[in-house]
């Protein structure tokens, strides 16, 4: 045998294996893929990982500690990053959290909020038992009750409401759900259209811009493969899904991608940008339109993509009904329509030099189809007409054909997987006017922040109102209006706060029910972090650890601290009690299939989903000798698909093509029944044709392709929905003057930007994480030195910030890190509890609520935070916990998207004698006036509906009611 013959022999065998693998259409080996993050304990050792306890030698203990490593999902923001809980096998307690390397979205990496979860578990001030109020609502006195007492009371009350036809009096108000649809199905099982989300104070503006374009209401940027990344806001450090996105943005940067950040602050994102642009707030759309104009006028856009996928024919037909649409004619119109959006125009609006905008345009033009853009809150959530910011931003993708491409932007529904539940209840057959009032037929989500106004106007009352890990008194604009509504028992009969910790809203509850956090609860979710699909499983880690050790845990309360429960078991139990004998047809949705007549448990519920509804999971589990549920309990996540690609270009299967009708513009309708795919991701449902055929795709060059879930099946540059529902002037992507446009403000007013997050915090949810609080605990007023000098304000000085309805007293931070002429104050701080009542923490101080001369006030009763009752009391070195500015903001509902427009026109001046940091005063009469002014800007469905319905049925909506419920009720005659 010569020196290389053995190589020939063995290499030949590998070659044969490779051919065999490739013949199955699989890749044999595309390079190292399992080597990264090798610093994590390998998963085969997760049952018993030994680590050294550095403090053991001090205490004479064995330094080796044995851990069960149990995955779960972070609950602190909506990114749903994977965590790995280190459960000490000796004490069965969680010692720390690290990242879960098996999670396809976060890939083992976390921001500060993930590991800080352990301080939330051990927070000495967390709520451990169900509590019921004693005395007046809001008096601050409570008594501990059993879960049975609370559940029976709630169930009885809800049952009565349902039996008496008062189902509209039940409402569930949620912050970030962190779960895909469980509670919506509970409400549907009750027959209640009572889902109320926080979305209209968050992302409705951003969503609207995307929704009208592509059907789906969220972007999913393939950041890692982008050549150019354009971010509106500080997305890189604090945006939606920021950790999974940030790590991919950094990968792209390493590969040479250019990053453009539009932000009035020199945020951490701005410091990482190749182009930092700080435009006047609200002018972002003008910049994007100028870039779009440049792409069109210089012929730098993807002409074939636009011709293929835009609904330009529809637009031309609306302009020239008697002329057959012609693409060149469309291009002429396009140029004419945007002729005014020059660089000079954008420069005047934004205050950014025209040459710099041109440079941006050139950079964007160089991206080709690898342009990743993103806007979620920020400008879209700050401005009247802010929804046109995300719309004009996506316009750039649509022009370059950077949609569904490597490095481009995908509709979120393609990059998200929602498994079908075992049993789905029917949709409600009625319409909730408190959440979807007639004034906002196009409101993207529930008009939640107007609820107290609607209640006060007599539009309805609530008998049972749940707030779920949500804090409208503190988070929403006009918190005093919320306090008034919540303390008026004629408006809110019973308020139940489901929360892990005390907050400003729970204080005004009748029941406070303790709910678990990330390692104490079950949830199932999937988010659009990249071009792929995955599911993540949040689980009570001590339950999983005990089960690994051979124990049986039937109820999560057995392993959670105190009587802390998880929501899913709570909702199932409550549903069972509402309909104890099954007569109302409700109980069946909470009933076990394995054990008829008994309530379903979470093991059966999730076990069934994982076994039946997640493609590939049963096989992967079997490969490891596990059941699908065991697999998810072991790894916490499963990658359903990688590289989904351009779904719109996929051909519709022949089986779906039956008795077709094709419109002149190529929309294809079929008589074939809908295919019930595995993925139940919320998807818009465009209307059927006159014969009842459903839209199935679009005809493109003789082939029937899937297209987009819009009325036209294409990307909707021109929205027939907006044109037909009363807003024809906004049917194209355009620029709307914000309510803080210079032309709408007095000379001494300045815009205040309140929408930005502190990177280590997440609204109210992280307030009991002491590690995070030490890093960030206050919210000074950002002011540029030029403005500070003009207004005679020094650094650290107290200032009064006067809004349209009141003022707050903050501390000035004089910094060049903000655009001159603009003020900034993060909304994360200024937490409080009423003096003498429950609550208190590292970033929370006692206050007194006051009323005087028709004005409402909040005055700090302490100059520093109350410290928690643990060993770190002496370590709280800070005294400034910020100011609750949102109390002084009136409601600003955008008349189209319904988004609260957060930016404020304010005056700022040095504080007066007697002012204290954190003081707040509000004129509630003025707040009512502003509410009415904005309400008057609406175009109600009764006036604009083209078909007698309340809302375009194709638009997304939680708990989408039946078609009949969409019909406007008969007009009341006076």
């Amino acid at each position: 045998m010569n020196s290389r013959s053995w190589i020939e022999r063995l290499g030949g065998r590998i070659s044969a294996l490779r051919r065999e693998t490739e013949s199955r259409g699989e890749t044999f080996y595309q390079g190292a893929s399992r080597i990264h993050l090798a610093g994590f304990p390998p998963r085969e050792r997760w049952d018993d990982w030994v680590a050294i306890d550095p403090s053991a030698s001090r205490h004479g203990r064995d330094p080796q500690r044995h851990y069960a490593l149990v995955p779960t999902t972070c609950f602190n923001c909506e990114s749903a990053c994977g965590l790995l809980a280190w459960v000490d096998k000796e004490t069965l307690s969680v010692r720390k959290f690290e990242g879960n390397p098996e999670h396809p979205g976060s890939r083992g990496r976390n921001c500060a909020k993930g590991p800080a979860t352990v301080t939330q578990l051990t927070d000495p001030d967390r709520i451990l038992h169900p509590l019921k109020r004693v005395g007046e609502r809001g008096s601050g006195r409570w008594r501990q009750v059993s879960w049975d007492e609370a559940l029976d009371d709630l169930a009885g009350r809800i049952r009565r409401a349902l039996d008496e036809g008062r189902r509209r009096e039940i409402m569930y108000h949620v912050g970030r759900p962190g779960e895909d649809g469980f509670t919506e199905r509970v409400l549907a099982a009750w027959g209640v259209d009572g889902h109320n989300s926080h979305t209209n104070i968050c992302s409705s503006g951003g969503r609207a811009g995307y929704h009208y374009w592509m059907g789906y209401d969220r972007p999913s940027a393939d950041f890692a493969n982008a050549r150019v990344i354009l971010l509106v806001s500080s997305h890189l450090e604090a945006g939606h899904y920021f950790n999974p996105h940030a790590q991919r943005i950094m990968e792209a940067r390493k590969a040479g991608a250019k990053v453009i950040v539009l932000d009035v602050r020199m945020s951490n994102s701005a410091t990482h940008a190749d182009h930092w642009v700080a435009p006047y707030p609200g002018s972002e759309a003008a910049i994007f339109l100028a870039i779009a104009r440049h792409l069109v006028h210089t012929g730098r856009y993807n002409r074939s993509f636009v011709e293929r996928w835009w609904n330009w024919r529809e637009w031309l037909r609306s302009l020239e009904p008697d002329t057959e649409p012609d693409f060149e004619r469309f291009e002429e119109h396009l140029k004419r329509t945007w002729a005014g959006f020059t660089f000079e125009f954008a420069a005047r609006e934004s205050g950014i030099d025209a040459a710099q905008i041109e440079e941006l345009a050139e950079t964007v033009a160089g991206a080709g189809s690898a342009l990743s853009t993103h806007n979620w809150r920020s400008a879209a959530a700050g401005n009247l007409g802010g929804w046109q910011v995300s719309r004009t931003l996506f316009l750039l993708n649509a022009l370059l054909g950077a949609v569904g491409t490597p490095g481009g932007v995908f509709p979120n529904g393609w990059n998200k997987f929602v498994p079908r539940p075992p049993k789905a209840p029917p949709h409600p057959d009625w319409w909730n006017e408190l959440t979807y009032p007639q004034e906002y037929p196009l409101g993207m989500n529930e008009m939640s922040f107007l609820l107290p106004y609607f209640l006060r106007e007599g539009r309805g009352r609530l008998d049972v109102y749940f707030t779920r890990v949500y804090n409208p008194v503190w988070t929403n604009p006009g918190g005093f209006t919320w306090i008034d509504a919540l303390t008026d028992e004629s408006l809110v009969g019973l308020h139940v706060a489901l929360t892990p910790t005390w907050n400003e809203t729970a204080y005004f509850a009748d029941y406070v029910l303790p709910m678990g956090i990330s390692s104490e609860r079950h949830d199932l979710h999937s988010y659009e972090t990249h071009d792929g699909q995955w599911i993540g499983f949040r689980q009570p880690v001590l339950r999983a650890a005990r089960e690994r050790a051979g124990e049986t845990v039937a109820d999560t309360r057995e392993v959670n601290p105190g009587e802390v429960w998880e929501e899913n078991e709570f909702w199932l139990d409550l549903t069972w009690r509402i309909d104890p004998d099954g007569e109302r047809g409700i109980r069946e949705f909470a009933e076990s299939r394995e054990r008829p007549g008994e309530r379903i448990g979470v093991d059966e519920y999730y076990g069934e989903i994982f076994a039946r509804s997640v493609p590939g999971l049963p096989g992967a589990a079997e490969g490891e000798g596990l059941s699908p549920l065991q697999y998810m309990r072991r790894y916490g996540a499963f990658e359903v698909a990688r590289g989904v690609g351009p779904v719109h270009e996929s051909a519709v299967d022949e089986s779906e093509l039956e008795d077709l009708a094709v419109t002149p513009d190529g929309r294809v309708y079929t008589a074939a029944a809908p295919v019930r795919g595995a993925n139940a991701v919320p998807t818009p449902a465009p209307e059927p044709d006159a014969q009842g055929r459903r839209p199935v795709g679009v005809e493109v060059e003789g082939r029937i392709l899937r297209g987009f879930p819009t009325p036209s099946g294409r990307l909707e540059f021109w929205s027939s929905t907006l044109a037909q529902w009363g807003w024809p002037e906004y049917a194209l992507p355009t620029y709307i003057h914000s309510h803080i446009h210079p032309s709408r403000m007095a000379g001494d007013e300045m815009p205040l930007i309140s929408t930005f997050r502190l990177p280590v915090h997440i609204h109210t949810r992280s307030a009991n994480a002491k590690w995070l609080n030490e890093i960030a605990h206050t919210n000074p007023l950002w002011i540029h030195p030029r403005d500070a000098a003009r207004l005679h304000i020094g650094g650290g000085q107290l200032v009064r910030v006067e809004t349209a309805i009141g003022y707050f007293v903050a501390r000035a931070w004089v910094t060049e890190g903000i655009r001159p002429g603009v003020l900034g104050c993060s909304h994360h701080m200024g937490r409080w509890h009423v003096q003498g009542g429950p609550g208190g923490g590292q970033i929370d101080r006692a206050v007194t609520l006051r009323e005087s001369d028709g004005r409402r006030g909040l005055t700090p009763a302490q100059s520093s935070p109350e410290s928690p009752a643990d060993g770190d009391r002496a370590r709280i070195w800070w005294t400034d916990v910020g100011v609750h500015q949102n109390l002084t903001f009136a409601v600003h509902p955008d008349p189209v998207s319904g988004q609260h427009c957060w930016h404020q026109a304010v005056r700022v001046r040095p504080a007066e004698a007697g002012d204290a940091h954190g003081d707040v005063w509000v004129d509630t009469t003025a707040a009512d006036r502003v509410y009415r002014e904005w309400l008057a800007m609406t175009r109600p469905a009764r006036q604009v509906s083209p078909d007698g319905t309340r809302r375009p049925r194709w638009l997304l909506r939680p708990l989408k009611p039946t078609a009949e419920a969409y019909r406007l009720p008969p007009e009341e005659t006076p």
């Binding site: 290389r4 053995w6 020939e8 063995l10 590998i14 390079g31 190292a32 399992r34 390998p42 085969e44």
Partner: protein, 292 residues
């Protein structure tokens, strides 16, 4: 060359965390794979995560640590080829996968042949022979045999391509060893000893445990630095003498390897001899000390 490419690729697959579907590859290569996947994965973890982490930067770098100039130089090769450097370009699996790709093309023209020599002599051979020797000694499960096969393959490749005249850049870039003897300062010795390309010796945790056993010293759990510090603090003379002896054993083996490894083997031998001389001058034959 195609067969060699396939074999390298197969060995690359097996250097990563084992999966059930990798079993046919191991069987084809006649490697003794444990029956259960868990046992196989445990052997992999013990070998590559706990004993011999397979990163060039650890064995070639000035600090004996991950990353740094060594990783940058390896990443530079990717960039020079117009490719995007992977996250961990100096990981063994990444390098072997690259080499497999190059071998596949190596018959095409001189440029590919040149690239074959570059990857082999600049990025694989400078560290793999001593690394694989330790994997063979302390690895578990199929990995000692896997290591022998890869060593044999590398030697065949070295012989096929011929020894280049110059020392690889990774080794040229290293500082010269300190002159004089060790004065007993533990901090001064830890850094050089735990940087293999500087000291010429690789000391995985298993060797340190053997050292403790041989010298009758107590063993502290922790990273290698803590373990070695603890041993030196207990009995510096015994520990330094043991390491010097190990270094001399390496010298003997490297003298044989010089025939096919050339200047690379001389570098490792000289550094091992210098380490032995530095730690325990009395133990080192004069001829070898001069070499150091």
């Amino acid at each position: 060359m195609k067969a060699a490419a396939e074999l390298v690729r197969g060995l690359a697959v097996l250097s990563e965390r084992p999966r059930r579907e990798d079993s046919p590859i191991a069987t084809a290569l006649e490697l003794p794979v444990p029956e259960s996947l868990e046992a196989w994965q445990a052997a992999h973890t013990a070998t590559f995560l706990q004993q011999c982490p397979p990163y060039a930067s650890i064995y070639l770098g000035e600090a004996g640590a991950l990353g740094g100039p060594v990783r940058d130089r390896v990443a530079g090769l990717w960039r020079a080829l117009g490719l995007r450097a992977p996250g961990e370009p100096d990981h063994l699996a990444t390098l072997l996968a690259l080499y497999a790709g190059v071998l596949e093309q190596a018959g095409a023209d001189d440029r590919w042949q040149h690239l074959r020599r570059v990857v082999l002599w600049e990025h694989l051979l400078p560290w793999l022979p001593p690394f694989l020797e330790r994997v063979e000694a302390v690895g578990e499960g199929p990995y000692p045999e896997w290591s022998r096969m890869l060593q044999r393959l590398l030697r065949a490749e070295a012989e096929a391509t011929g020894i280049p005249p110059e020392l690889p850049l990774h080794l040229r870039a290293l500082e010269a060893p300190s002159p004089g003897g060790w004065d007993g300062d533990v901090d001064a010795v830890l850094g050089p000893l735990l940087a293999p390309a500087r000291s010429g010796v690789i000391l995985p945790p298993a060797d340190l445990r053997r050292l403790a056993r041989d010298t009758g010293l107590g063993m502290r759990m922790g990273d290698r630095r803590l373990m070695l510090r603890s041993l030196l603090e207990q009995d510096a003379t015994a520990v330094s003498g043991w390491i010097a002896g190990a270094a001399l054993c390496r010298c003997e083996r490297l003298r044989v390897e010089e025939r096919w490894l050339g200047a690379v083997a001389r570098h490792w031998r000289d550094r091992a001899a210098a380490t032995a001389c530095w730690l325990a001058p009395g133990e080192v034959p004069d001829a070898m000390a001069e070499n150091g």
